[in-house]
Each structure stands twice: as structure tokens, then as C-alpha cells.
Symmetry: C2
Subunit: 273 residues, 2 copies
Amino acid sequence: MENRNTAPVGVFDSGVGGLTVVREIARQLPDENIIYFGDTARVPYGSKSQNTIIRFSEQIIRFLKTKQVKAIVIACNTASALALDAVRDEFDIPVMGVVIPGARAAVEATRNRKIGVVGTDATVQSGMYTKVIHEMAPDVTVIEKACPLFVPLVEEGFKEHVVTREVIKYYLESMRDTDIDAMILGCTHYPLLRSKIRDYLGEKIQIVNPAYETAMDLKELLREQNMENGGATLEHSRYAFYVSDAAEKFRMFANTVMPFDVPTTNVVNIEEY
Amino acid sequence: MENRNTAPVGVFDSGVGGLTVVREIARQLPDENIIYFGDTARVPYGSKSQNTIIRFSEQIIRFLKTKQVKAIVIACNTASALALDAVRDEFDIPVMGVVIPGARAAVEATRNRKIGVVGTDATVQSGMYTKVIHEMAPDVTVIEKACPLFVPLVEEGFKEHVVTREVIKYYLESMRDTDIDAMILGCTHYPLLRSKIRDYLGEKIQIVNPAYETAMDLKELLREQNMENGGATLEHSRYAFYVSDAAEKFRMFANTVMPFDVPTTNVVNIEEY
């Protein structure tokens, strides 16, 4: 089983957001090799239909399988909410998403049993967070709110701009006026706005980033299935990055997010998979 | 040549923006049938690379050709700026874009020979408007400015929101402080923000919407090539709408833009073309 253990973990997202999950996996599982795919040619996913999200996810998993990944993390809440069940049935390797880990973290964090969830239109319309939270804790009240401009703001590099503060206020004013005491960042792009969101919401609401629990769950999965890597690296680098478009823009962005230098990023014509 | 004359005109854009061009064609050429394609699965185009924009445009033109279109209007500034030359060489039917008509309208409008252009990142980085304007009028000063959040704002239905006013101010403050007297809306989504942009810029700057000149150029092209339609309609409706995703969302949006009722919208798997 040596090959299986040294094989990389595949991680994907619609764009740069999933890097917040890679960052956490790299921190908690420093011996694992990672192949990341960002679907920058078709970002954003949050405004698209379930059929399309499933088709895009299938193409990406087929691509990642050509890289002999041993497990896949869907580092995108929209694809986790809309495509996880479909692709789990279809592919013969373990696939996990970020919604279940995120929901569990929020249920553990709340004291007053009131949780807020922010995400894309598609994630919120799916009601998946509310469903998963209620399976874990039927007594919890869940308030969901779609923030469709957050992904474009992050993808366009606006996290420090005045406009971003205005957009955060616009979306989160109603959330701040509730008495929730925990709020899930239900989109992997949103942790990149975390400090601005915290500035606006204040200290009474604990902000939950599903990336941390996702990395923990991945660790558990690899241990259970005896697939942990002893430390052998992938070719010359532990991490490899692929995108469907605009590799240089992605690489520059990734270098602002990741705690290590992001090497070359390769472009894949994902529609061929 | 009867078949060729009654054949529809194909019009495409990355999403809903091209509807502003359809609206103008419908007004100026009421006898022409139109097949519209909006690439809603892959919107926005403005942050993508030239190779990707060319590949997407080729797929869409191949799809439109299956509908026996007699001519194609690229109702997207990004694709006009980055893909028009490539696809013109490749396909055997007339293809026109919106950049040349828009540039001509602005050159005619300016009195002080100073023109502003707003568009997507990709359009502005291409420098295509400056190049085309200088071919027509070398003495004109052109100031270009990318406004990457305008497309997400329009696609997400934010045109009436407070946030939009803030974003307009953020992008156009420097433009307002220049002494340009004409500004091209160099993205077909932007006319949907026109009244807000005008409110911000005031009356001294004439806002140029390339859609009007594009429809005039199309009329001229059809006349020259003896391809005008005498009035026979396309099946049961003069206009047919196709998208690559989220047909119902598109249809509802289209109904707010078009002066007539938009019938069913069909989803096409554009990656197969």
C-alpha cells in the first residue's frame, strides 16, 4: 500500500477560495501532498444550477484521478452542498465536503442554540446547512443569508477596499441584529474577508471557518483507511496547483494566502475531462 | 437566397449584458429574427484570459451555426476585443463586434477630443478601444478604467441598490475628475447601470452606449450583403433565447430588460460544441 499512502490528496474549488482549506490541511497534515484545482475559467459557482455544479465537479474529479489522488476534498461549499452526494455515489475514492465539518463546528460553538450561516445563493437555496445542523441538533435555530457579491469581491482582490465594508454592512446588518452567537462562513472564499466581517459583527458572534474541522476530518479519514503519508514528497514539491484559466493571476493571489511560496501554476482544459 | 434572408442573426454574450444589444437591434431592425446565447455557466468573461475567451467564442459560434444564423454579433466587449480577429478568420459567415461601432460613436460625440472608456479588466488590458479610437482619430486622448465589479452587480440584480452607488463612486471618481466629455460604456452589462452612472457623472459627460451604433452597423452589413429579412418569422417567435445555465433566472432577468415578453429559455451544454 506504499503507493496509496504517498499519493496526494486532491482539493478543489471554483477559484481561489479553496486555498483557505489547503492552508489548514497543510498546517494540520504537514506530511500530505496536495494537488489543488481552481476552476477559474468558470468561477463563480454560487449562481449556477445543481446540474451544472455536478457536471463541473465530475470533470474536476476525473482530472484529479489522473493525478492518482487517494482522496478528494471538495473545498467549496456550493459544490459540497449540491454535488457531494452525486459524486460520492459515482467515484470509487473517498470524497468529503466542507458542509458537515462546518455544521459540526458551529453546533459545538453555539451556547444559545442560534447559528447564522452565510454563503452563496446556491448554497443558501439548497438549505443544506440547516438540514445538516438539524440532523445533529434539532433544537438549534438556523438563520441563513446569501451574500452573492462576496466571491467576486475576493476574486477581484478587493478585500481591503472601502467598497467591501459597505457590501459587508449591506449583507450582514440583519444578521447582526439577531441574537445568534455563532456564524458559519459557508463559502471558502469568505475566510479571506474574515477580519472585516469580525470588525463589523463584533465579539459577541463567534465566526466559524469550516476549514479547520475539514482538515481534522481529513486526518481522521486517512487514519481510518490507513492512507496517511509517512512524508515522501510529490516529485519536487509537496503542493501542485492547477487552474482552468489565468494561472499567473491565480499564482499571485495564492502567494498572498499561503504561508509558503506557490510555485508555477498549470492550466488545464477542464472541459476535456 | 430566400433562406439566407429569413435566417436569424446570432447574438451572444457572457450573460445578460448582450440583451442591451438585442434590445437595440430589435428596435432598429424589427423584421430580423434573433437567436441569443448567454454563457451564464461561465460568466464573467472579463477576468479570463484571451485563449479562454477565444475558445468559448468558438464554441458559441459553432452552436449558433447549428441554428443556421446568417451573421453573428458578438454583443460582449471582452469577446469583441479579444476574440473577434481570431473567429473572423476561422468562420465563413460575417461576424461583427461592438468595439468598433462604440469607438466610432464616441469619436463623433467628443468635442474636446478626450474620451473615457470603462470596461472589464480583460477589455481594458487589451487596450483595444484606445487602439481603435487612435486608428480613427489619432489626436484623441483616451482614458481607460476597469470596473470589474460592475458585471457581478448586474448579474446579481443589484442595479438599484445602495452598494451599487458606492461601487460606481469608487470606480468613477478619478474619471469624473478628468475633463473627458464622452465616456464609452465598454461592456454590454454597463448600460443596465446607465442611469446610476449618469447620476454620478452629471451632464457634462456624454455617455456612449455602443449598442446603438452596433445595430446600425448590422443594418448596413445586411443591406450590403443583400441579407435583409422581409419579415418572415422564425418558427413561432421572432426571438429565441439560449443559455448555458440557469434558464429561469435568465428569463426573469431578460423580462426586465426587453420591451417584449421573453418566452421560454433553453439550456445548451455549450462545452459539447
